[in-house]
Amino acid sequence: MKGVIFSIEEFAVHDGPGLRVNVFMKGCPLRCKWCHNPEGWNPNPQIVKNPNGCLDCGKCSNLCPSPAHCILCKTCVFNCPRDLIRISGEEWEAKDLARRILKQEHIMEKSGGGVTVSGGEPLCQADFVIELLSLMPSLHKIIETCGFGDTSKFNELLRCVDSVYYDIKVVSRDKHIRYTGQPNDIILKNLEILKKSGVEFTIRIPFIRGVNDDAENLLATARLLIGAQGLKRVELLPYNELAGAKYALVGLQYGEIFAKPDGEVVRRAKNIFSSYGIDIDIR
């Protein structure tokens, strides 16, 4: 079957052991206010324009045959004199993508690496991801997910992977709605499934001042993880101050500006997780 991806990144050093390829699926059900990759939101291929270096020559709009509704004809892409316009998102057959990744199997295998499927949100195209991963039996496989997706598909996916990066943004349901646009009931339900599955997993928390850095939230998060045998560690990912950098590319404006928690708060967070016997890593 076909899936839409917006990037294949070789040598993804941050997303699993060894030398890895990271496949970014297009489309995400959440709209986290700190998201640094809005290119991953829209599930369909779309035009992206780099505003840096634009001459304002007007060719892209003047030559456009369908200004009211983009038909991805690429006229603007061909005619931009500075090559600033491209299409983000490409349809791939799972078997073609698997073949593409497996071309470098020798490099990944020898280093204990493999493939990570991330996004966007892999659960949004679960059937495609399941087929893709099943076609690469020799590789170490990871999915990186926010957990917001169909529970039975999530279960199925867990059977295809060696490890999971699972996001917990914030435990409070209200806050979750406020900062991501969606409630977290499904996410917490899928977390329970993950815990029971025996699959190795790492919890990733985007760590943001005033959103989820309070003791109450961190304690609640740690309690959620009690007794999870597959839990490898918790990774805190302090807020990326360049989060807004790519919004203009997709014609959006970055909204709220957040900040990293300060050193004292980071230390407190470390202590909280450590007190529950959880390995903690700050990235």
Binding site: A12, L19, H106
Partner: protein, 680 residues
């Protein structure tokens, strides 16, 4: 850990305080010297010797504080041996390579340092032609060098001075002496007008002195480390005064590790120590080359990756498993092939016994393919036929290029001769040649050439997506009226570093290039070696090159060396490494690395050094021959163009060498910025 004296020396150097000792000759001195050394009644060899004698006499020995290895150039410039117009006259009847000097060689450090200059003189006097002009001249340069060294000795403390007087004459006993005498000889080589003077297999030639010192209890590992740092710093004192095509391109390459002439592994304690010293100092000289093979432990790659992380643009890796068989295939004896080092950039040269000129010309592969497509595409039904025309053109061009190198003029160099093996015994100047007298041709615009062929194959011959007429029309108009075509060529065509078909074509093209050179000999009895480097030709050859079938606009730069297209998309380091490991590279080992850039944010992750090491190793395991990875930050470079004052220390790799970004010509700065960068 860096000692206080190294720290102070480093500060002194970074603040450029050593330059306060420099002086210009007065115009009277300049005229007087110029008159003497351009005297037409003297042979060029005698002029060359007289020039060196006067240069050294006019030098002022300087002992810098906190320094153990002395030698600082104080003369900013010195006249040449040619009267006005004289070299142009020679050029009318000869081919002159670059400045016409003996250059880009690796001398016999181990033997020379062990036996001293009197030991060299003994070989000379016992040699075959003890009364020739060469013998007289070689004797004079030995005298001049000893006298110069003695003037340094006079300024040192008594013990060090006495040791240097003895060591320069009869050979070095300790590591300190060996480094000091090397410094004097290296200094003199530059003074003699030779350039791109390399350091050779440092961890090999210095090892016996280190080992002896340890055994005699006169040195500890900490002491040796400090000495190495002191020695490394000495390469950065005068480098801005050395002749080069661009600042930083001075050829002070140093080689570590690798197989020894007897076939055993040469990695020793100093290999690691040198890597650590270079990492701690973060200077652009000496430029580190690491020889590796399939059995090299990952820890050595990790140490190398620490240097990459530091943004130094080196080490450059070369793969013994490919290079040695390649050199043997070209006719080098196994013991010589195993001893290879790097010339100024990446050309593989043999120390002591070779007078090769590995950068004598450049085959403009991108241009040859472009011409062939424009002339012959419509006559071809498949890629094999087109490659047939390419082969014909490369052969024609190679023969033509080789013919234009005759007769070659090279200035004599008695001083370089006394440092090599065989000149003294034979009583002949090195400019007449040594055991090996081969020439090398770079192959510039390799990926552009391959991508043009791959585009034609994938879009015209295989799928019929575009027609020959459309392509030729598009090329003619620089894509002005067919922007869609340009997009298709750039994005939909097969490209090397991503598509298997392009890799097959690349392998074929390399094979054609190597075979074309196999058919010709040079006038010195040597062969021609095919290579994958570009040197500055990637800029020179691109300026007049019209639009090409890979979607490149007229005049747009070519990728440097053996690098992927500047608009390769959908491929990262794994694809590029697999795509650039060719079976036929063994036939084309003149040198020229796969070069690519990683965004420096890769190194934010604690495991990144390990992962970069694994990545480098995977290229070696795949059969790649030479590799150079840079950690770069595009934003930082753009800012450095606007605010050079803020980025004085920013180091980048340019083509075969590292330089300070803010001191490069803008065209090179722009090229470094535009190169493919794999960010994470």
């Amino acid at each position: 850990m860096m000692t206080d004296s190294i720290k102070r020396q480093l500060d002194f150097l970074n603040q450029r305080k050593h330059r306060e000792h420099r002086r210009e000759l007065t115009s009277e001195q300049w005229d007087e010297i110029a008159e003497k050394i351009t005297d037409k009644s003297l042979s060029y060899m005698r002029r060359n010797v007289l020039r060196l004698e006067l240069f050294l006499e006019h030098e002022t020995p300087v002992i810098l504080e906190n320094t153990k290895i002395h030698g600082l150039r104080t003369l900013i410039d010195f006249p040449d041996i040619y009267a006005e117009g004289e070299l142009d006259e020679i050029r009318k009847t000869h081919f002159i390579h670059e400045k016409g000097k003996v250059t880009n060689l690796a001398w016999d450090c181990g033997t020379v340092l062990s036996e001293g200059l009197e030991g060299r003189r003994k070989r000379l006097m016992e040699g075959k032609r003890s009364d020739s002009e060469f013998v007289i001249c070689a004797n004079r340069v030995i005298d001049a060098t000893i006298a110069f060294s003695d003037r340094y000795a006079d300024k040192m403390d008594t013990t060090a001075g006495t040791a240097l007087r003895r060591a320069i004459r009869t050979g070095c006993q300790t590591m300190t002496e060996a480094l000091q005498v090397f410094r004097i000889l290296h200094f003199t080589l530059w003074a003699a007008g030779n350039y791109h003077n390399t350091v050779g297999r440092f961890d090999q030639w210095i090892y016996p002195f280190y080992e002896k010192d340890l055994k005699n209890g006169v040195l500890t590992d900490d002491g040796a480390f400090e000495l190495i740092e002191d020695f490394f710093l000495s390469f950065n004192r005068d480098s801005d005064l050395y002749y080069s095509l661009a600042w930083g391109d001075n050829g002070q390459s140093l080689v570590l590790g690798g197989m020894l002439p007897d076939g055993t592994n040469g990695v020793n304690r100093l290999t690691e120590m040198c890597l650590r010293a270079s990492l701690e100092l973060r200077q652009i000289d000496p430029k580190i080359n690491l020889r590796v093979d399939i059995n090299t432990p990952v820890e050595l790659f990790e140490l190398g990756s620490e240097l990459t992380k530091a943004g130094l643009g080196f080490p450059q890796y070369s793969n013994d498993d490919v290079v040695i068989p390649g050199l043997i295939r070209l006719g080098y004896a196994p013991e010589h092939a195993r001893d290879y080092v790097m010339a100024a950039c990446w050309e593989f040269i043999i120390p002591k016994v070779a007078m090769d000129i590995p950068n004598i010309g450049a085959m403009p592969l991108a241009q040859v393919v472009n011409d062939t497509i424009r002339l012959n595409l419509k006559k071809c039904k498949n890629i094999e036929e087109l490659l047939g025309f390419v082969e014909k053109e490369i052969r024609r061009k190679a023969a033509d290029m080789a013919e234009k190198l005759k007769p070659l003029y090279i200035e004599t160099s008695p001083f370089q001769s006394i440092l090599m093996e065989g000149c003294l015994e034979k009583g002949e100047d090195i400019s007449n040649g040594l055991v090996y007298n081969n020439y090398g041709f770079h192959g510039t615009g390799f990926s552009c050439a391959v991508d043009q062929l791959a585009a034609v194959d994938s879009l015209i011959f295989k799928t019929g997506k575009i027609t020959s007429d459309r392509l030729l029309k598009g090329l003619e108009s620089n894509f002005e009226n067919d922007r869609e075509l340009r997009h298709i060529l750039r994005n939909d065509a097969d490209k090397i570093g991503r598509d298997e078909n392009a890799r097959v074509i690349g392998n074929h093209l390399l094979d054609i290039f190597a075979k074309a050179l196999e058919c010709i000999k040079n006038e010195r009895g040597g062969i021609f070696r095919a290579g994958t480097g570009s040197a500055m030709y990637y800029i020179w050859h691109s300026k007049d090159l019209p639009a090409t079938a890979d979607g490149r606009d007229a005049g747009q730069p070519l990728p440097a060396n053996f690098s992927p297209s500047l608009f390769l998309t959908g491929a990262g380091p794994f694809s590029v490494m697999s795509g650039f490991a060719f079976p036929s590279i063994v036939k084309a080992v003149n040198g020229g690395p796969l070069t690519f850039e990683l965004h420096d944010s890769v190194f934010n992750h604690p495991d990144s050094v390990k992962k970069v090491a694994l990545l480098v190793r995977s290229y070696i395991l795949a059969g790649g021959h030479q590799l150079q990875i840079n950690a770069v930050n595009r934003e930082k470079m753009i800012d450095a163009q606007k605010n050079p004052d803020k980025h004085k220390d920013l180091i980048v790799r340019v083509w075969g060498w590292s330089g300070h970004f803010v001191e490069l010509d803008k065209c090179y700065q722009d090229h470094v910025i535009s190169r493919a960068e794999f960010s994470v």
